[in-house]
Symmetry: C2
Subunit: 329 residues, 2 copies
């Protein structure tokens, strides 16, 4: 491979798409962002278009043509390595002037490598969904949860948001505890907390339920911030605590020996009652884990790009990419 050849790592999730342009030795040359990269929430076309946007933005920021890029490591949430979505992305990249190779990676692995360059360790990611992985030899060796909103994703943003909605509903229904979440949710949705009753129900309850069933179920995840904002409320605190305990349970299912633990995603990347409960439930097991929080998988996608051009990834490279990405974002 020529010394001019560059690599791009793309981290695409439900909240945004990030691309890191790097030299084969892990020097960050450019950075670009675009919209949602998750093919489930954005659709296959929207997700592929977001990747191309981010890639173009990264090369433009460095003043380099896309033809200088030999490999793109695409770490995309819910993205299969083959199939229609992959073909669509390849076609769009070819049209944009990319002549190299695309390597599909898990977005979970990008989050993992955003926190460590070690070949062995763990990542727990809780965004809209939630998943725990064990990494060995730089590959995902075991996975727990990540099973979607209807059947799993315990402790995820969806899980929290659904419980916020249920808690407000049970409060209005007279079957659950009074909670600050009720007022917060009604205000957020523009529903008057009127006490008038129709058919033995508070009217606000009827309106709330009708409105919520009008949304795609996954949109319940957008109510998760209400729990964090009301963290002093006992009901909200209980939801956050149980979310953290569920995430610890998912990690426990893949935990074998000590190693670095990377935590990421909107629910776990910042200090909160969820993270406290998560670490608290891990108990003694947490002692052998070196916990690092990361905002997303951008840096790790850069490391995956370096790996894709055949170079070993190092801690020095991780530190350099982390500093460079922090500088440009």
């Amino acid at each position: 491979m020529g010394h001019d050849m560059l690599a791009i790592g793309v981290d695409g999730g439900g909240t945004g798409t990030r691309a890191v342009l790097t030299t084969p030795d892990g020097r960050c040359l450019g950075y670009g962002v675009a919209g949602r990269g998750n093919p489930i929430s954005a659709g296959a076309e929207g997700a592929a278009a977001a990747v191309v946007d981010a890639v173009r933005s990264a090369t433009a920021s460095a003043g380099r043509p896309l033809g200088d890029v030999s490999v793109i490591a695409a770490a995309l949430a819910g993205q299969p390595a083959s199939g229609e979505g992959a073909e669509l992305l390849l076609a769009l990249l070819r049209t944009a002037g990319f002549a190299g190779e695309v390597r599909f990676e898990s977005d979970l692995l990008a989050t993992y490598f955003s926190g460590t360059a070690a070949g062995f360790g763990y990542a727990v990611v809780s965004g809209t969904g939630a998943c725990a992985i064990r990494v060995a030899d730089g590959r995902i060796e075991a996975t727990s949860d990540g099973l979607g909103w209807l059947l799993g994703d315990r402790g995820s943003g969806f899980w929290i948001g659904q419980r916020v909605a249920k808690a407000a509903i049970r409060d209005l229904d007279g079957a659950g505890r009074a909670t600050a979440l009720t007022g917060g949710l009604l205000y957020r949705l523009g529903i008057a907390p009127a006490t008038t009753r129709g058919a033995g129900r508070p009217r606000a309850l009827e309106q709330l339920v009708a409105l919520l069933y009008g949304l795609p179920p996954i949109e319940l995840a957008t109510f998760a911030p209400l729990a964090f904002q009301s963290a002093d409320d006992p009901v909200a605190a209980g939801i956050l605590r149980r979310a953290g305990e569920h995430l610890a349970g998912s990690l426990a299912a893949v935990l074998t020996e000590p190693g670095p633990l990377v935590v990421g995603g909107g629910v776990l990347s910042r200090p909160s009652a969820v993270r406290d409960a998560f670490l608290g439930r891990l108990g003694d097991a947490a002692e052998g884990l070196d916990v690092r929080a990361v905002p997303d998988g951008a840096v790790g996608a850069g490391l995956l790009a370096v790996r894709a051009v055949g170079r070993p990834v190092t801690t020095q490279m991780l530190d350099g990419l982390t500093a460079a990405v922090a500088h440009v974002r």
Copy 2:
């Protein structure tokens, strides 16, 4: 009203539609059944067609023309008293020769009157969904739950079935207890319980999750029977117990003073661990309640039909209709 004028009560739910042809004094003349009457699961057209089928079958069994019927009391799950579904049903009934009036009622009230003729009391119904009501002066005065699969229906068939699926998934994922539900669910769905792993997961788990997300979510309710069949399994027993406790919680939210308590729906109409836990959780409150289990709302729909022609409903009438319907079904 002429002495020849008859009334029909229709009880339409997610599992079937039942019609009772009665004289104004509550003597059962005919009985008919048809398919699903729930407009949510059967569609508005399917639900209306099922009502007409059941009505025709009931009049035919008595050898009477539909023109002899002055009132139809339609107690239909999820059926609004107005709107497209109601207009569709009226149009179909007119075409079938019905010239009288249609009174829309709650299917919950039909279940209630299948167990008591009293103006005051309670009903807890757990079928695909779950709801508790307090009845006063023969009308629903308060309602708890019945809020649908995504946000409520705690202790319902959906609730149980979803937990069956989740328990099997957590078992396969290594994050939950081993349970007999796993084998039962895989067998039911024709998935081989192979131990081969792809991407750090049992292949059976990937297959199970893909298959379940291919179903409409509400279909998870069809797995509820697996919990009853494995009632000796600790995980299944825990699900059934919590279902009963949730149903007791819904009743507690509408409970004011002693009265008859009618329990119905597939989950609660037969003796089971759910009903035991339900009564156990009610504790002392259960002492003031006269509990009666009913298979469905057919008899109560007959009483609602009698009420719709302006006659008072009596316990004698209830007993007579119960015996007659038991005889013909």
